[in-house]
Symmetry: C2
Subunit: 352 residues, 2 copies
């Protein structure tokens, strides 16, 4: 695990440079995808019998740019930051819980620690200046452009040579409020459509949270220049970092597994710029946070799991990693009909 | 891995004795379930935030009869047998493929081998007299009562001391035909409702398969004395073994993860005798075989995964094992609020 290091953050990151990367996104490696499809048809099973596992293996090959795809060094990256909007009472937990949970990650006591152990994934926790929260977005922009650029660049450091899958997650008291406002600004609709219980507000407290989201969106809406500007005005440092990590993973040929609501909203900033920008991303699960299903429709993603989870911290992505590892293991390790001397169907594979 | 051993099969198994076990099924261990619920509320997450993972941990505790539950020695048991009804041309694959796939399991080349490696599960393959298929159930009973008793008893041997989770699966060319007839006899409806492509029949071949199922059910329907008799008349040796394994797991306090259509139909013989008989069983996934969803409604089970898989051989159960291990790891390994010095919500956990 690493913690924030000022030297790593890249204090001179330039937002225009980061935006420029969006104009040169690499596509899937078609040769690897084709090799995956060809091998899939020869493995000892009826054509299509592994269902979505087959599509996952092809996806991993296409976006790793190699065949067979690998799942030998998965990383779970969790970005943690604080939010000025917590001053508006949007969460039942105090903002100190962000730092307390980071300490819990570091001691191995959180859900994501157990999930990384279960699925042999490396956990990295990126602590982002927890004593310097963003500003309250109902009073002004959440952050400055330079802060956003630094956070995006910091997120990009989560993609390192040798990583073959990247699960992304977040921790930040108040960040479902920020995510709701950002989603509303990016995809339209009402604040109510995007705002849910988060860690557990209900009744009057939920109504108050909806009003805070609506206020923030109303304050900034007409001034938002582009999706990155929406992130600056309504987002958070960890959300910016996740967007940066998704972008760096695309450049570095590392397929991504996104977690729940806040994580997916962060990634969807890139989708709002270019709808193909998340083609290398899988959404690991559908969160119980109600805005997540709406968001997944907006960005055209079918989640892998639907287990009613709503914890964040990369937990849903880490559970989904077990399925992705299963898919890659079957694809890479199964015998072909020829190797196993198993009779193929009389009318040939896939013909019925 | 083991292969069939006449000494293990228990040639003197008595069907009445096995049926007698159904009258004394142990229930869940309420103290363990209560301990799981109590601990769950103190773990460092908002109440309920792990969704279905929390229910899985409680289920495992209740049916293992201990707290915390464990997932240290999961076993995947695959039963393989042949079916006389293949003479009716119900499968696109020849019956020799059953033995060829058993050899593939033994050499490590099948999907279930890769999945067991991925999720650290022990694989046992139980080969059931592959050169002695059941009889064609459209001409008479598939097996005799003594064969059924032997197969049930053989299945029971899959539950051994020290196993903490049991995933069940099957391999048998023709067995979705047998499963469809058995499900139709147990739960009513038309042959068409329960008959699907299996390994891949479509069009005229699927219509012919539906007619075979209908013929078999029509031949036996009025004579079926009880659900075990339906199994004898329309089932298969591997299906009987799975029913035996499910029953032995209940007696031995081992929670079970069922696989797809044929496996779930086999287990549902016990449900037809006593609707509480599968309370210790989780259905790992919903198969793409269309009858599976109907069956799950009939037995009141919500599958864990829905990935369009339809391979059998325990593959869906083995993928689901990764989720169950995740749930047990989170429950057993996470820190409590007190241990981690994380502030709980001001209004107490679970109150909103």
């Amino acid at each position: 695990m690493t913690s924030a290091n000022e030297a790593e953050i890249g204090p001179n990151a330039d937002l225009d440079e980061i935006k420029g990367l969006m104009r040169a996104l690499p596509g899937p490696e078609e040769a690897a995808a084709e090799a995956a499809r060809a091998r899939e048809g020869r493995l000892t099973k009826p054509a299509g019998a592994l269902g979505r596992l087959e599509a996952l293996a092809e996806w991993a090959a296409a976006w790793q740019g190699r065949h067979p795809p690998r799942a030998d060094r998965p990383r779970v990256a969790v970005f943690a930051a604080n939010h000025g909007v917590t001053a508006r009472g949007v969460s039942p937990y105090p903002p100190e819980v962000t730092a307390q949970m980071v300490a819990n990650f570091q001691r191995g006591g959180a859900a994501v620690n157990q999930l990384c152990l279960t699925h042999d994934a490396e956990l990295r926790v990126y602590e982002m200046a927890l004593d310097h929260p963003t500003d309250d977005f109902t009073a002004g922009a959440a952050m400055g452009e330079a802060d956003a650029a630094t956070a995006l660049a910091y997120g990009m450091t989560a993609v390192e040579e040798g990583i073959d899958l990247l699960c992304l997650g977040e921790m930040g008291i108040g960040n479902t409020t920020s995510a709701a406002a950002l989603a509303c600004a990016l995809f339209g609709g009402e604040a109510r459509d995007w705002t849910g219980p988060g860690t557990g507000v209900a009744g009057d407290a939920l109504e108050a949270k909806i009003r805070v989201v609506a206020e923030g969106v109303a304050l900034h809406k007409d001034a938002i220049a582009d999706p990155f500007d929406a992130l600056i005005r309504l987002g958070g440092l960890e959300l910016a970092a996740i967007a940066g990590a998704v972008l760096a993973a695309r450049m570095g040929r590392v397929p991504v597994i996104l977690d729940g609501y806040a994580c997916s909203v962060a990634a969807s900033v890139l989708h709002a710029v270019d709808p193909s920008a998340l083609d290398h991303c899988l959404v690991g699960h559908c969160s119980a946070e109600p805005g997540h299903r709406r968001l997944l429709q907006a960005i055209g993603k079918e989640p892998l799991l639907d287990l009613g989870m709503r914890l964040g911290e990369g937990s849903g992505a880490a559970v989904a990693l077990g399925v992705v590892k299963s898919a890659i293991a079957c694809h890479a390790g199964m015998a072909t009909f020829e190797e196993a001397a198993v009779s193929d169907r009389a009318d040939g594979p896939g013909s019925g």
